[in-house]
């Protein structure tokens, strides 16, 4: 439990009026979770309710990060959209299992697979 520094970059890539990819680089934890929550809210307010969150650049997620993903799921689905997670590493999968969120989120190997799943909708 060391003092942590803020280190998360959120890349935004719009694919259509409804669809966007958020590519995360860095730790998704208590210090950065609110940034992700804000970024998702911004997209949803702009009408992009079908989101892929690409986590392949995230070495570490804690439960605050997961809580931000859950609130993103809520925001997108209430607006009639969806939120898909892509590119999780082993650590992320472990915390998802631990918190039973693997029962909720469908996990996709990479961005392309997640986008394909969105396309089927």
């Amino acid at each position: 439990m060391m003092i942590k520094t803020r280190e998360l970059e959120i890349g935004k890539e719009s694919l259509s009026e409804r669809c966007a990819v958020l590519a995360l680089e860095g730790r998704l934890d208590a210090l950065t979770a609110l940034e992700l929550k804000e970024a998702i809210r911004e997209r949803v307010d702009a009408g992009q309710v079908e989101l892929v969150v690409d986590l392949s650049g995230v070495p570490f997620i804690d439960s605050s990060g997961l809580a931000a993903l859950v609130s993103g799921l809520k925001a997108t689905r209430q607006a009639g959209g969806a939120l898909k997670l892509a590119g999780l590493n082993e650590q992320a999968r472990t915390v998802l299992r631990l918190t039973r969120l693997d029962r909720v989120f469908a996990l996709y190997a990479d961005r392309a697979a997640a986008l394909e799943a969105l396309g089927e909708r």
Binding site: D29, S64, V70, L73, K74, L98, R100, L101, R103, F105
Partner: protein, 688 residues
Amino acid sequence: MRPPPFFSVLPLPMPAEGRKGARTSPSGGERAYGLGLWGFRILALASIVVGLYYIGWRYTTSLNWDALWFAIPLVLAETYGIIGNVLFAFTVWQPARRAPPPPLEGTTVDVFITTYNEPVALVRQTAEAARGIRWPHLKVHILDDGARPEVRAMAAETGCAYVTRGEEWRDKPHHAKAGNVNNALLQASGDLVLILDADQVPDPRIVERAIGYFRDPKVAFVQTPQQFYNVPPGDPLGSDAALFYGPIQQGKDGWNAAFFCGTNAILRREALLQLGLAEYAEEMERRVRRGLGRMERDLAAARAETPAQGEALAVLSRAVAQAGEALEEGQPLETVTDVVRQAMEAAQQRMAEEELAAIAGDMGAMAEGGEEGPEEVRRYLLGQLAEVAREVIDTLPSTSAPGGLDEQAADMELSRADEALPVLALPTYSVTEDMATSMRLHARGWRSVFHGEVLAQGLAPEDLASSLKQRLRWAQGTIQILLREKPLRMKGLSFAQRIAYLTTMYSYFSGFSTLLLLLAPIVYLFTGTAPVASSHGALLWHLVPALLLNRLMFWSTARGIRVWRGEQYAVALFPLWIRAVVSVLAGARIRFAVTPKERQGGTYLHLVWPQLLVIGLTIVAIGYGLVSWFGGWNHELAATLFSTFWGCYNIVMLSVIVKAAAYKPPAGWAPQPPGTLTASEGAAKEQG
């Protein structure tokens, strides 16, 4: 916290745990039981054996078969006491001995001061003391559910962050203190959270003394005692609960079952959030399952009136069946619900198209009259039926979910639209969320610590009405948790943890047996009918050792803590305990009430009428019993004297609450705010 009982056996009714303040010993059980731990254990075993022998004798040999209406209720009341005695002995069997490990450097701590309507000066006192806590990485937040501008200003002055509910809480249930903490948890970012009620003034050392326990990565929380600085001499309201924040919590700690009491505790943020996330996942699965079940039922009952409705119902039925299979296969809920949501969209689309086609038909009929406009509309609609349908789908009344499935559709949203936050770290269904939280943490394998050193001081209710309200709330909350979490069945708890939780919950059912034990001497004195059929000698021979050993075990556990007031209250509050059980079983909605921190004026004799009634009846019964002996109608002198003694004991126990109802603090007495304890004072306390 609350009453679990230190039970006594028979006629002397049994008191309950007192979940209140403590004037208590330091870190744990180094000061072992008065007689040494083994001395206590031998007493406890003897007390259990003799108690079981007594109750066996009561069932097999001494029931009065001629008066079963009286004998059976009484023997059941006694059985309640005997079982409680065993549970209590188990709880305190192996008290934890704690010595705080060295502080865990580099850990970040958020202090949450929860407030709703307390006076600003009171919150300020706590805020200033919290700012004085010695720890390099500390941030103090005032969680103001009252959203008061003057508290905001005070927070800025004292250098505290100020947190209120955001936009997302509008029109959603606020869940009182649990909601307040849940809201702040998602905004703070420290490793640990120290929770303080608005009146709990912390000692500067509170973090450095308790934080070392978190070296164990499985420790989820450290609870410290509650002590009150405004308890007047003699503790008329029975606020002090040194027994609970001493031997009882230490005993529970020995089984890794100490529980969180809502304030004066440090908790691991990660543990709380994990709890919230897991609860969210479980709740969503429950809802999806429920939604699918209802859809299946409603679809089976639905009747199509048009071809499109028929197709829509078919599409939906297929989707629901497919989703059900996916759920059983263990597919994620996102996938499962997407199947249904897509089918729902397709069905609505199909129905919208049908409706638009019908409109186009009408236009065609009008166009036969030679008008241009309708013909244009008709061509437009038919040309782009699908697109138009998509555009208008939400505005056509006929396309609200087919089969009336709107409500079930909400179950597919995975969004908990009825709540402001999807992730509720502290459970919100109970007014005593603290205990439910502990139980869920323990069930998930987390450890807990009770650190017995007083590191914060606060206010107890100062009048009977407020005190009764608080106790009722705890009792109801605890019984709610018993019914909802089912400690005997909850997965993940150890046997000892189950028993430890059960003991606390069990103690709240004491009201019924207490009532019977209060009525028994009255019934005997009036009717001359005894519930026990035995010679006086045999009764004393069985009863006295059981009672004596029970008292000895109890005193050995309490080791010098004054418990008499607590025992009196446990008996005298019997109407409140009964009311708590009945109200929860009857499904009454229990509201969180903020306990007033200032004395409310007046006397409260109307609140204690059941106790006054029992006292009155006992006095009349004693008079009647003595008269009938002198008059020669009743020749059982020994039984009459025994019942008279028993009745007098009951009156002494009940009198405490009558006094409290009429209580006024002595002239010139005023509570002394704690100020901040200096380290030396603290150390002295610790040794004292």
